[in-house]
């Protein structure tokens, strides 16, 4: 088994044996979406109009919740120092972590999104576009999240600093994510937004492991 696969396996094992952490994340995602009808009132037309934005905000917030766990426990028990001495380059280790983070913090949300679509009175066509948009956009959120988490773990400032750091970076993801679902200018624009979203995800997912590894390496142990 290659070192990269071993790394991925370890992360997935830790998440799956995490005693319902994934379920908590999914419930948080659904609940954020579910409180919106109570806050804006039972106007079905309004709800289905803002539904794409609500789902994206819920996904964004739920993914922020998992960030603390990305490098925090590794720093606390000394594993992070050993990663820096491993045979596998640190960037590859971080890449495995980003993939595992997406699989355990984004994929479950995407699978749970039908529940939100139902609660927010979404029609079928919009739902399929939402699914595609989430699939294309969440890797970028995972990548930005890794950079934020690495910066805060290196400077030993946990808590809410990482979300604050990466929120501005994530704005384009939200803009194009929602743009790919409910285009203001027709189907053409939706396709353009989806392509931009995919490009953004590819770029961020590729570059973020290097940036995060650099941040960890420069942060003194």
């Amino acid at each position: 088994m290659s070192a990269f696969a071993a790394m991925l396996k370890r992360e997935l094992r830790l998440s799956l044996r995490g005693g319902g952490e994934m379920l908590t994340l999914v419930l948080f995602f659904v609940i954020v979406g579910a409180v919106v009808p109570f806050a804006v009132g039972p106007d079905k037309a309004l709800l289905s109009r803002i539904a794409p934005g609500v789902i994206w905000i819920a996904a964004f917030l739920a993914m922020l919740l998992g960030l603390e766990k990305l490098f925090g426990p590794d720093r606390d028990d000394g594993t992070l120092a050993l990663y820096r001495l491993a045979d596998l380059p640190l960037a590859a280790i971080v890449a495995a972590k980003v993939i595992a983070h997406w699989l355990t913090a984004a994929l479950p949300l995407i699978l749970a999104s039908p529940a939100l679509a139902l609660l927010l009175a979404m029609d079928a066509e919009t739902f399929w576009r939402t699914l595609l948009s989430l699939l294309l956009g969440t890797p970028a959120l995972a990548g930005f999240g890794a950079i934020g988490a690495a910066l805060t773990v290196a400077t030993r400032r946990g808590g809410l600093l990482a979300p604050i750091l990466i929120a501005p970076l994530s704005v384009p993801v939200l803009i194009f994510g929602v743009g790919a679902i409910s285009p203001s200018g027709g189907a053409d624009q939706a396709q353009v937004a989806a392509l931009l979203l995919a490009a953004l995800s590819l770029t961020v997912a590729t570059l973020s492991p290097f940036a995060a590894a650099l941040a960890i390496d420069w942060g003194e142990d």
Partner: protein
């Protein structure tokens, strides 16, 4: 090719090394020379900079000045340093066996097989136990097993004997002697006696 032959040309050297945390120097003018097959015991009061020196040797902390060189080490052979710090890097939810298997794959240069290493450190019965249920001493033994499963010439051990029972102390001495016998090197910071005959001692001064 035996490990002894591989390591026989190595030499860990530092020149006018100053180590510290942030801007605060802890130990200065350290000129070490540790040839293959020998060890070094670091002594000194709490806060003298022993751990910081080990982290700097491992490359985990930048030196304040001076340099650390491992003479004769080919970068392509992979990382040369095993570092074992205060913290055990043992994660709950993974069994002892899984933990060791993971480090064996990640650290490369596989040496002793996982089960043999667990037997060596006396953790056979705990192999399938969640590592969080291991006692502090057993976790320390698991850390020692991590040194065995991947071959690296230099062991940097920070208080390796903490939480170990008398039998564990003997085991630690044996493992270090075997490692040195194969041409490896070891730099050990400890307040306890280490059962390795003829180990040179470097005493670091007190912190101000």
């Amino acid at each position: 090719m035996t490990p002894g032959q591989v390591h026989s040309l190595l030499r860990l050297e530092t020149a006018a090394l100053a180590v510290g945390r942030g801007d605060m120097p802890l130990a200065q003018a350290i000129d070490l020379s540790v040839p293959a097959g020998t060890g070094l015991l670091l002594r000194g009061p709490n806060g003298a900079g022993k751990s910081t020196l080990l982290l700097t040797l491992a490359g985990l902390l930048p030196p304040l000045s001076g340099s650390v060189v491992l003479q004769g080490h080919n970068e392509e052979e992979g990382p040369a340093f095993h570092h074992c710090g205060h913290r055990n890097a043992v994660r709950p939810r993974l069994t002892a066996r899984e933990t060791l298997g993971f480090w064996r794959t990640l650290n490369g240069n596989p040496a002793v097989p996982v089960d043999a290493a667990l037997e060596r450190v006396g953790l056979v019965r705990q192999a399938r136990l969640d590592a969080a249920y291991l006692s502090a001493g057993q976790q320390r033994r698991l850390v020692l097993a991590r040194l065995l499963v991947s071959a690296r010439p230099v062991w940097l051990l920070d208080e390796p004997s903490s939480a170990l029972d008398a039998e564990g102390q003997v085991l630690l001495g044996e493992l270090v002697r075997e490692h040195l016998g194969q041409g490896g090197m070891a730099v050990i910071a400890s307040h306890d006696p280490i059962a390795v005959p003829g180990l040179p001692v470097l005493t670091l001064g007190a912190a101000r």
